[in-house]
């Protein structure tokens, strides 16, 4: 313990060519799933190390091992060449390891400097902490007002507070877990330049955990790629390109088009150096699903709307208008995108079509008959399938099995006289698991044991199995990785091609533009504009979303 502290404060430290951290043979098993399988990893001073992988590839588990949140089943950790056991986060902190988590742990009611001082021991001196915050923010270009209340800050600024909290402890090794998931492109840019600063000027080792190819290519010096708990590849960033990384990460070819959503921030380099690649993609797209879809949409023209939302208004608590006189028609075989900045009524629209809330005015009509709003299961019965925005809220029951989750909406189909046939339950579930390629240890696995992407597939499988006339997909690819996004996108196209009316609610404009035949824009609970696919582009949508009605 004592030599760990001296090492931490000692500015020179040991031989800089030695790895700062060396993980060897790290193995961790959760139940039947191998989260980390013999993982080796070396982090060097003065370098940004990217760890790339899909959701559930084991990168988070690996980092949790490093900071003492998870104890490995096997393997060793060396810090500056010395074998260490990291039993808890305090031990990790003593060794100079710090992590900026994906989810912030800040107290909203407190100010920035108070949050930074939290967890300190001894007497609290506000001037000292304030000065330190100011010094750090100046040194790294992390501009922030130490007296601002954290609850009033944007996500980007809150992250800055987290980073300052970390830097204040002067860590040798800094881990960033999916840091850009909450940031705007500009904020991400800013973050990466800070990252550079931290590394180059001071010889710290930085880890950037991410599933976005683009930012890994942009901000790291070397890359380790993980898949299904194993390291599948590692290489210097200079020798990597998006396509090969994507292949290594997913384990097969993927169309870069559907990745764009996953990469998040605008993919500048890609556009700059691969003009031809983009053309090839375009051609690929036209030749497969895109063309098919368009064709089938033309060959099955249908003028009768399947779903009609007629003048629906919903008021929230305190009379706020969550939905304000919304009218919308959906025809079979078309995908209608609902674009908008989040918090403009999209969630309420999803809840309405999930029978979760009543309307104050207007009605919802499916196949020419009005559906009772907020009557339990009425929308599902009328033929509306829903992939909800937050699947843990109304999409799945975490404490039930995969099979039970697959049969939630219509258990009668595997029951006789009200008794569920165990054999049929297992058989039906098994069939759906295979058809939708749901990664789980079997129909009886508890749902919480599945990764996010696989939970989403359970929802998709269930909703499609009910053979709906309308499918509502709210933020269907949020938080998913490249492979899962591609899968979901293809499924939605296919569903529409099969004659289902699809309502795609998304705040990812790329996704909306790519999939929709028609786009409506929501702002403050109203539909402020409707565009055909041909007329829509980022600019027109952006203007409408901003609330400007021409």
């Amino acid at each position: 313990m004592t030599d760990a502290t001296t090492e931490m404060t000692g500015s020179g430290g040991p031989d800089p060519s030695e790895p700062a951290v060396e993980l060897a043979g790290i193995t961790k098993r959760f139940g039947g799933i191998l989260a980390c399988d013999q993982v080796d990893l070396a982090l060097r001073r003065g370098r940004v190390h990217g760890i790339l992988g899909e959701n559930g590839a084991g990168k988070s588990t690996l980092m949790k091992v490093l900071i003492g949140l998870v104890l490995p089943d096997a393997g060793s950790i060396r810090i500056d060449g010395q074998l260490r056991a990291i039993h808890d986060p305090l031990a990790a902190a003593a060794l100079g390891i710090a992590m900026v988590h994906q989810h912030f742990s800040l107290v909203d009611q407190l100010t920035v400097w108070e949050n930074v001082a939290l967890g300190e021991e001894g007497r609290l001196r506000s001037t000292g902490v304030r000065d330190r915050v100011a010094a750090i923010s100046e040194q790294y270009g992390l501009e922030i007002d130490p007296d601002a209340r954290v609850g009033e800050l944007t996500a980007g600024l809150r992250q800055r507070v987290e980073i300052i909290k970390c830097l204040r402890r002067d860590p040798h090794i800094l881990v960033f877990d999916e840091p850009t998931s909450v940031l705007t492109p500009e904020e991400s840019e800013q973050l990466f330049s800070t990252l550079r600063e931290v590394v180059a000027a001071e010889g710290r080792a930085v880890v950037l955990v991410s599933h976005k190819l683009d930012e890994v290519l942009h901000a790291t010096d070397e890359i380790t790629i993980m898949r299904q708990g194993r390291v599948v590849d590692r290489r210097p960033t200079g020798e990597a390109d998006a396509r090969s990384l994507a292949r290594a990460m997913v384990g097969r070819e993927v169309s870069l088009r559907s990745e764009r959503a996953a990469f998040g921030i605008a993919d500048i380099e890609e556009a700059a150096d691969s003009g031809t690649a983009a053309e090839i993609e375009e051609a690929e797209r036209e030749s497969d699903t895109g063309a098919e879809h368009r064709q089938s949409a033309e060959t099955t023209p249908s003028n009768e709307p399947v779903l009609r939302i007629e003048g629906v208004s919903v008021r929230g608590r305190g009379g706020a208008r969550l939905l304000d006189d919304i009218s919308l028609d959906l025809r079979a075989g078309e995908i209608v995108g609902v674009a908008g900045v989040e918090g403009n009524g999209q969630r309420t629209l999803g809840d309405l079509l999930s029978s979760l809330i009543p309307v104050d005015a207007g009605r919802v009509v499916v196949n020419d008959s009005a559906v009772r709003t907020s009557a339990p299961g009425a929308m599902a019965k009328a033929g509306i399938g829903v992939i909800p925005e937050d699947r843990h809220d109304s999409g799945v029951v975490l404490d039930m099995t995969v099979a039970e989750n697959l049969l939630m909406v219509d258990p009668h189909r595997v029951a006789r006289h009200g008794v569920m046939d165990k054999g049929q339950v297992t058989e039906t579930a098994q069939r759906m698991i295979e058809e939708f390629d749901i990664g789980c240890s079997g129909p009886d696995a508890p749902l919480w044991s599945l990764s996010g992407g696989n939970q989403q597939r359970v929802v998709l499988a269930r909703e499609l199995a009910a053979e709906p006339d309308v499918l509502v997909a709210a933020q269907p690819t949020r938080g998913l990785d490249v492979g899962a996004i591609e899968y979901m996108t293809d499924r939605l196209r296919q569903t529409a091609a099969d004659g289902v009316a699809v309502l795609l609610i998304s705040s990812e404009l790329e996704e909306i533009l790519e999939l929709s035949d028609r786009i409506v824009v929501m702002s403050r609970g109203r539909i402020v504009g409707e565009l055909s696919q041909a007329d829509a582009n980022l600019e027109t949508l952006g203007l409408l979303m901003g609330g400007s009605t021409e």
Binding site: G377, D393, L398, M400, V409, S449
Partner: protein
């Protein structure tokens, strides 16, 4: 973890906590001038070993199990019903009212008496259900407070002859007492190996199987569990929280009411000897709640749990006769109850911790 390992873990946990409770008890008994060995012997004698005792224990286990089963059902719907004591008393009162004011003699009346008991409990629990789904009153409060209303209401009923009070001839010099149930209206108590217990024991066992099966295998049970785990997903899937929740509360109450009726018509001196008297419920409702807790709200484990709690009760009676002060016996009993509840709590906390760790792992 394999099934065998899990069972072994439970056995070890229970053994450990009971040994600890006994150790503390013995220290207390010795410190207050008693001998702990006779106390332990008395506990075993009183609950199973002495002639006729395990029958007595079964007679107490049956209503405990019934109460616990009702608790399990409401708990599965995500409702916290803690008013079984009152629901049980109401069930007994309904059964009494039926027996002396409506029904006549004969076996059919025994059956009807039990059904009336169940109805009484259901009505009482439904009052809480109504408050919950009509006005949004938390059921954990209303069920609890309705216990005290039930005690007062039954006390009031026992003051009026047209309600529950016995006529002067049959109540002798006692007040607040119902008539005694006629012999041909009682639940049979066959004698097996010198042990006597009412046949409601079998009914309770059959119901335990039925509840376990119903919750695990029927569509109704499936939807009820869905409601308990995630009300919004249930609403979306067509499960009405009002219908299913209110039904679950009513059924929970019905089980407690049935237990009350079975106590009244099943005999046993501690249960008023076929009469309704003040204090008739004798904590069976509260203890039944503990049984469900110890069984971690599952029907089949509740069978074992009910028997164990019944053993504590019958055994404690014998401990009193060893000359140990009755307050000390209470302490010993309390320690044993704690010992029985500790392992589920330990396992629950650990599982929740693991589940959370696993869940954050997969986000």
């Amino acid at each position: 973890m394999t099934r065998g390992a899990r069972v072994a873990e439970w056995v070890v946990l229970y053994a450990l906590s009971i040994v600890v409770a006994l150790a503390i008890s013995s220290v207390i008994v010795e410190a207050t001038g008693g001998d702990w060995w006779p106390v332990l012997e008395a506990l075993i004698d009183g609950s199973i070993k002495a002639p006729g005792r395990w029958g007595e224990t079964l007679g107490i286990a049956a209503p405990l199990l019934l109460v616990a089963l009702g608790t399990v059902i409401s708990a599965k719907a995500g409702l916290i019903n803690i008013g079984q004591e009152g629901q049980l008393l109401m069930g007994a009162a309904f059964a009494v009212f039926f027996s002396f004011r409506i029904g006549g003699p004969g076996p059919l009346n025994v059956l009807l008496l039990l059904l009336f008991g169940a109805l009484g409990g259901a009505v009482w629990a439904s009052a809480a259900g109504l408050l919950r789904y009509w006005r949004g009153v938390p059921e954990v409060l209303s069920t609890l407070l309705l216990v005290f209303v039930a005690v007062q209401a039954v006390g009031y009923g026992l003051k009026w002859q047209w309600l529950l009070l016995a006529d002067e001839a049959s109540r002798g010099n006692r007040n607040l007492v119902s008539e005694q149930l006629a012999k041909n209206n009682r639940i049979p108590r066959p004698d097996i190996f010198g042990n006597e217990f009412p046949i409601t024991v079998y009914v309770a066992l059959a119901l335990a199987l039925a509840v376990a099966y119903g919750l695990a295998r029927t569509v109704w049970g499936f939807r009820l569990r869905m409601l308990g785990h995630n009300p919004r997903a249930a609403q979306r899937s067509g499960v009405s929280s009002t219908v299913y929740g209110a039904t679950a509360l009513a059924i929970g109450g019905a089980f407690a009411g049935l237990a009350g009726a079975a106590m009244f018509a099943g005999g046993g001196f501690s249960f008023g000897n076929y009469r309704l008297v003040p204090g008739f419920s004798d904590n069976i409702g509260w203890t039944g709640l503990l049984v469900a807790l110890m069984a971690r709200e599952r029907a089949l484990p509740a069978v074992v749990a009910a028997f164990v709690f019944a053993m504590l009760r019958t055994g404690a009676g014998f401990v009193n006769s060893t000359g140990v002060e009755s307050r000390i016996t209470d302490v010993v009993q309390g320690l044993l109850v704690l010992a029985l509840l500790a392992p589920p709590a330990v396992v629950f906390l650990r599982d929740r911790h693991r589940a959370r760790a696993a869940a954050t792992e997969r986000v």
